[in-house]
Symmetry: C2
Subunit: 131 residues, 2 copies
DNA sequence: CTTCGTGCAAATTATTTGCATGGCA
DNA sequence: TGCCATGCAAATAATTTGCACGAAG
């Protein structure tokens, strides 16, 4: 069920895995980043590869207030989407694993993938709120 | 921040709250359901009201493999999207509250809304898999 | 080699907007 | 009454598709 490796697909994955891109880009932002490195890549190719990468579990689609964003699929973690500054924070924690185990045990479900997204205030915006 | 109550908005909310609609409709399915009861309602009105209802916290947008679905916003609960039959199950449990409290305590975030979505196998499809 | 992925442009689908009118508060 | 929401149609944005060609395994 694994698709072919092409330079286009690898570039997308590479861009998403760079720390400086922890912006969790939208497909539009991702397109800009991709084209910055290779102008010859077509928009349709980006769509097609994003779909494949999601299906293959290499990247993750995140739901925000105004659309989708993408993240490299590392260890199980959640996301906080700040309602004020709209940035997306990774929230790593042990508890998710426990939650999944608990749900599988109690509700006869088998969980293969998670999308845990919180809306709220990020640390920075909480500070500036209190000023 | 509350918008006006119109019959269109109330119809949408009503349809989403009926138990038999636990199908968690896409906007397309929702449109069909709405038009079944009142053909005069325009598509744009449905889009506009869905946005308002989400903003007002009355309904919730759920991310699935192939788009969005909508659910009435009851008590905090998660969703299982079955990778086989594509149905969406509500997963009520105590643990979510604990998870949120834990994260707020440990990561200096303030959580106002949650989107907890799991992909996996529903009870029915697990059974049929084992046959 | 053979099959799958690509770039391009066109097609399709999804969502938003402008405007004149009607309806809630 | 005044302002917001509506329906309609047109505009725009987002995503998909068909096709001929090039590249991966």
């Amino acid at each position: 069920m694994e698709t072919r490796n092409t330079k286009q697909k690898e570039l997308i994955l590479d861009i998403l895995s760079r720390k400086e891109n922890m912006i969790h880009p939208t497909i539009g932002e991702l397109t800009t980043l991709v084209l910055n490195e290779d102008k010859s890549i077509g928009q349709a190719t980006i769509y097609r590869n994003i779909k494949k990468l999601v299906r293959e579990g290499k990247i993750k689609k995140i739901l925000t207030n105004d659309g989708y964003r993408y993240d490299i699929n590392a260890d199980l973690h959640g996301h906080l989407v700040c309602v004020k500054c709209h940035s997306v924070y990774d929230l790593y924690d042990e508890s998710y694993n426990k939650l999944v185990a608990h749900l599988e045990k109690n509700y006869q479900v088998k969980i293969s993938n998670t999308n845990i997204i919180f809306d709220g205030l990020c640390p920075k915006c909480q500070e500036s709120n209190n000023k």
